[in-house]
Amino acid sequence: MAQLQSLPVHQGFGETSRRDAWWFGPLVTLIGLSAFLIYANAIVLFVPGYFEIRANKADFFAPHNPAVAPYLAPFHAPLLYDAQSRHAWFQQARPGFWPSWAPFSSAMLILIFPAGFRLTCYYYRKAYYRAFWADPPACAVGEPRKSYWGENRLPLVFQNIHRYFMYAAVIFLFFLWWDALQAFWWPVVENGTVVSHRLGLGLGTIIMVVNCILLTGFTFGCNSVRHLTGGRLDCFSCPRNIAEPRLRHKFWHWSTLLNERHMEWAWASLISVGATDLYIRLCAMGTINDIRIF
């Protein structure tokens, strides 16, 4: 033996004996999630309006500016405050408690819930721990930091509240489906006022429905749903559960089927939320025109 050395330990960041493109997956995740975060923040902070398509495209908040299509951009759903939108739950421009000097967008009130849901989702945790925090960047690849507490201590112990965000997400689904159903109910505008409504269909309606389907698949494949519907039980047929014979096993099984593709649902629904939002906003700003089918 020539020069003896010790077994390479690969403890430095990115050190590994791997020769495949281990960096590719995390890189795609990093780019994808960053793009979404940049878009979401830009919308919330800088675009308070343009969440629906209105007659006067130049001045969204102009008085008596009726919506000419029944869509609602998902970043503003549910739309809590707006002075004129049919989607709004409170017909006023902003809540009374909001300081008058501060910029306001209805999205600011609600986005914490879907954001928290995805931030604490088991799949997204994996994705961003790897891509953003490099802990680990990929399997059997060295890490940048030595110290580690996992999810045992603050702040990450808060990941354990995931199920509460899941409850919120299920409630949000009702609102989103409600908005999607409303997207079939088109305003008939004459001389700048809405005179009636009638059944209709536009490309945006289809996009909103697809978005809802993807969000539903993502939400019900959640590991907390899987746990609470039946995963908690050790015995599906034991005395306590006999009243609902095997029902909980079925729920658990359905949720498991969705859960097996949770990553795919996560990405598909993330992209669809972003794309639906972008589509409706571009139509609202007049950059592109919606296609009305009937």
Binding site: L7, T16, R19, D20, A140, K146, I161, H227, C235, P239
Partner: protein
């Protein structure tokens, strides 16, 4: 026959080097075959563990081109792991102390294993001392029984590998999360291992980055079916105030209940007794 070049770690943890060897590779050969050939022709003292050559004994774990793999289940023509024409690097598992060449000391795992209370079935369901359970109930735990204890998941897990959490605030590792899951989710078992999982095996140290699942040669969904459901159970018991209240009011899970008091057991079609 094609020739393949290998670089294999020879020596101990602190004293050794990569040595180069060549092997004649034929149709269908796996890395372990090449190691055997090298032993037979060039390095009779090369130490490696193996037993079944069928991916079932879990002894030939190593790192092939940096990826934790069973040597007997990695074909030389599998381009995901072996790049044709390039030297293949074979190293021992990095997480466990090296004895020599490719052989590591995995006894730490057996120590962890002993911490887990064994299967404790409820009182028998039938007078003849047998139990009844339905297939749906055992599907879940059957997956975990496939484990061959190759410890590749323990080797890859960054909590053990990079952060060295093998003592003190130590992490039990994915293999033992699976073992606990197989007992905790068992329809007949009555023991309670959740405090152990939370405080001694420190499930909170797992950040569900899924490397264990990626390397498991038995394709056990370690994270999705084992660790995450256990984490959810730990949340039920220790973190979720509503669940905590629920348990206070309605009593703890079925485990605490006495054996089931059904009068009629499901009919089991046994062969008619010979008269």
């Amino acid at each position: 026959m094609a020739q393949a070049k290998f670089k294999i770690w020879r020596g101990t943890q602190d004293q050794g080097e990569f040595q180069e060897y060549t092997a004649e590779v034929g149709e269908g050969m796996v890395v372990l075959d090449c190691i055997h050939q090298i032993q037979a022709t060039q390095a009779p003292d090369l130490a490696c563990r193996w037993n079944c050559k069928a991916g079932k004994c879990g002894s030939c774990s190593a790192e092939i081109n940096g990826r934790p793999r069973l040597m007997c289940m990695t074909r030389m023509d599998d381009e995901r792991y072996i790049t044709p024409g390039e030297t293949t690097i074979v190293e021992p598992m990095h997480t466990f102390p090296l004895i020599r060449d490719l052989v590591t000391n995995v006894s730490w795992n057996y120590k962890i294993n002993k911490m887990i209370p064994r299967f404790q079935p409820r009182q028998a369901d039938a007078p003849d001392g047998t139990w009844r359970m339905s297939q749906e109930e055992v599907d879940r735990v059957q997956e975990f029984r496939k484990c061959i204890e190759c410890f590749l998941c323990q080797d890859t897990c960054h909590v053990l590998r990079d952060h060295g959490k093998t003592e003190g605030e130590m992490f039990g590792g994915p293999r033992f999360m699976i073992r606990v899951a197989s007992l905790e989710m068992h329809p007949l078992d009555t023991a309670d291992r959740l405090p152990l999982v939370k405080d001694s095996l420190n499930i909170g140290l797992c950040n569900i980055t899924k490397c264990c699942t990626e390397v498991c040669p038995e394709h056990i969904h370690i994270t999705d079916n084992g660790i995450i459901p256990l984490k959810e159970r730990v949340v039920d018991r220790f973190y979720d105030p509503i669940m905590w209240l629920f348990h206070k009011i309605f009593g703890d899970k079925q485990k605490a209940e006495p054996a089931r008091t059904r009068t009629a057991l499901p009919v089991i079609h046994e062969p008619a007794a010979k008269s």
